[in-house]
Symmetry: C2
Subunit: 219 residues, 2 copies
DNA sequence: AGGCTAATGTCAGCGACTGACAGTTGACAA
DNA sequence: TTGTCAACTGTCAGTCGCTGACATTAGCCT
C-alpha cells in the first residue's frame, strides 16, 4: 500500500524517522543503564532525559510511562514466542508445541535483544524488575496477557472455545509457572550461562506433566 | 503477656482502639464505594478522605497506598486459604489438599467479608480490579506471593526443597491458573451465584490433572 | 488534675504524568 | 530554492499520589 512498484517495503526511513529511532534507542539505553545501576526508585525520569538531553515531555511522547521503557526488551521476546507458536505444526500436542516454541526461538530472541542493548545489561535490569514490587507486578500482568494470547492459539489449534473449556488456560498457566520459576532462578544470582539456562528450562518443562499427577514421594 | 490473670486476651479494646477501628472501616467502605461507582482513576484520595472527613495524611497512615485499601477484602480471603492448607491431613495428595483448602473455606471467607463490607460491593470492586491494568497487576503480584507461600507449604508436606524441585511451584501455578480463570468468569458479568461459582471452581479443579496430559481431541 | 504518648492535622515538597501553547525542523510541492 | 504544511520538540502550569517535619489534639494512666 506504499509507493507503487516498490515491492521492498523498506526503501530508506528518511532523516526524520532515523532521528526518532536514534532518540528512542538513546532513551532506552540510558534508562536501562540507570535502572541497572541506581535501581528503579533511584532513577527519575529527569535523570533519564538529562542523560539524553531531551525534555521530559519528549520522553513521555515516546513512552507512556517510566515503566514502559523498562519492558522494552521483554517486549521483543514475547512477540517472537507468539510467532513461533503460530508456526508449530497443528498435529503437535499442545504442551510440546509450547515447549518447542520457547526453546526454538531462544537463540533468535537473544540475537534480537543484542541489537538494541547488551544482553548483560538486560540481565541486570531483569534483576531489578524481579526485585522491585511495582515492576514485578507489571511483569506479571504482561505475562498474563501473553499467556492469554497463547491460550487462545492453543484453543484454536485444538478446535476448542477458550471461554467454555478451561483446559487451554490451565495448561498455559502451568507452562507459565515453569517459565517464571526459571526466570526467578536466573535472576536469583546463580550465574548460569544462557545455554545452561535453556537446558534447565527444558528439564523443568519435562516435569510439567508428571508434576500434576500422582504421588511425588514414590519417585 | 497482657494483664496477669486475664486468660481472655480480648477484654475490651479501649476507646482509642475502637476509634481507630471505626476510622479504618469508614475509610475502607468509603473507598470501595467510590471505586465501584467512579472507578479507580475516577476517585482521588482526596475524595475518599472528604467522605470520611479526615486529612489525607491520616489516610496514608492507615494504608501505605491508595492501592492497599482496594485489596482490603482479598487480603482476608488469602489468609484463610493458607490456614486451611496448613490444617489439611499430610497424607492427602497435594492437588487434593489445595482443592479442599479453597472449597472448604469458601463459606467462612464470605462470612468474614460480609462483616466488613457487603459482598455485593466487593463484587463490584472486584470487577474494577480486573478491568484496571494497574490494579490487575497488583492483584497478580499478590496472587504470586500467595502461590509462593502455598508452594512452600506443599513442599513441606512432601518433604521437598522448593528451590531444588520445581514441581510444587508448577502444581500451584496450574492451580492458580484455575482460580484466575474462575475469578475472571465471575467478574466478566455472568451473574453467577456464589454457590454456582463454587461448583464451577470445583469442576475446573477436577480438570487440572487431565488438562496437562494427552490428547484433548479424543475426549 | 496533669503529664505522657499516640493519633491527627497542616504545610511544604518531590516525582510521575498531562494538556495547552509556542517554537523548530524535516518533508514535499511549486 | 523557497515556501508551506505537518511532525516533532520544548516550556509551563497544574493534578495526583505520596512523604517528612512539626505542631496540635485527645485518650490513657498515675
Amino acid at each position: 500500500m506504499e509507493t507503487v512498484g516498490a515491492v521492498e517495503a523498506v526503501p530508506r526511513p528518511g532523516l526524520r524517522e532515523r532521528k526518532k529511532q536514534r532518540t528512542r534507542d538513546a532513551l532506552v539505553r540510558a534508562a536501562l543503564e540507570l535502572f541497572a545501576t541506581r535501581g528503579w526508585e533511584g532513577t527519575t525520569v529527569d535523570d533519564i532525559v538529562a542523560a539524553v538531553d531531551v525534555s521530559q515531555r519528549t520522553f513521555f511522547r515516546y513512552f507512556a510511562s517510566k515503566e514502559e521503557v523498562a519492558f522494552f526488551v521483554p517486549r521483543l521476546a514475547e512477540s517472537r514466542v507468539v510467532e513461533a507458536l503460530r508456526a508449530r505444526p497443528p498435529a503437535e500436542p499442545p504442551l510440546e508445541a509450547l515447549r518447542r516454541s520457547v526453546l526454538d526461538s531462544w537463540d533468535e530472541i537473544n540475537a534480537a535483544v543484542e541489537q538494541v542493548v547488551p544482553l548483560e545489561l538486560h540481565l541486570r535490569v531483569y534483576r531489578v524488575i524481579e526485585s522491585t514490587p511495582a515492576l514485578f507486578a507489571a511483569h506479571l500482568r504482561r505475562s498474563a496477557e501473553l499467556e492469554e494470547e497463547l491460550a487462545r492459539i492453543i484453543a484454536g489449534r485444538e478446535g476448542l472455545d477458550v471461554d467454555a473449556d478451561p483446559r487451554p488456560r490451565i495448561l498455559v498457566a502451568a507452562f507459565g509457572g515453569v517459565i517464571r520459576v526459571t526466570e526467578r532462578l536466573w535472576s536469583a544470582g546463580a550465574d548460569l550461562s544462557l545455554a545452561a539456562m535453556r537446558d534447565l528450562m527444558a528439564t523443568y518443562l519435562d516435569q510439567v506433566g508428571p508434576a500434576l499427577a500422582g504421588d511425588w514421594r514414590t519417585s
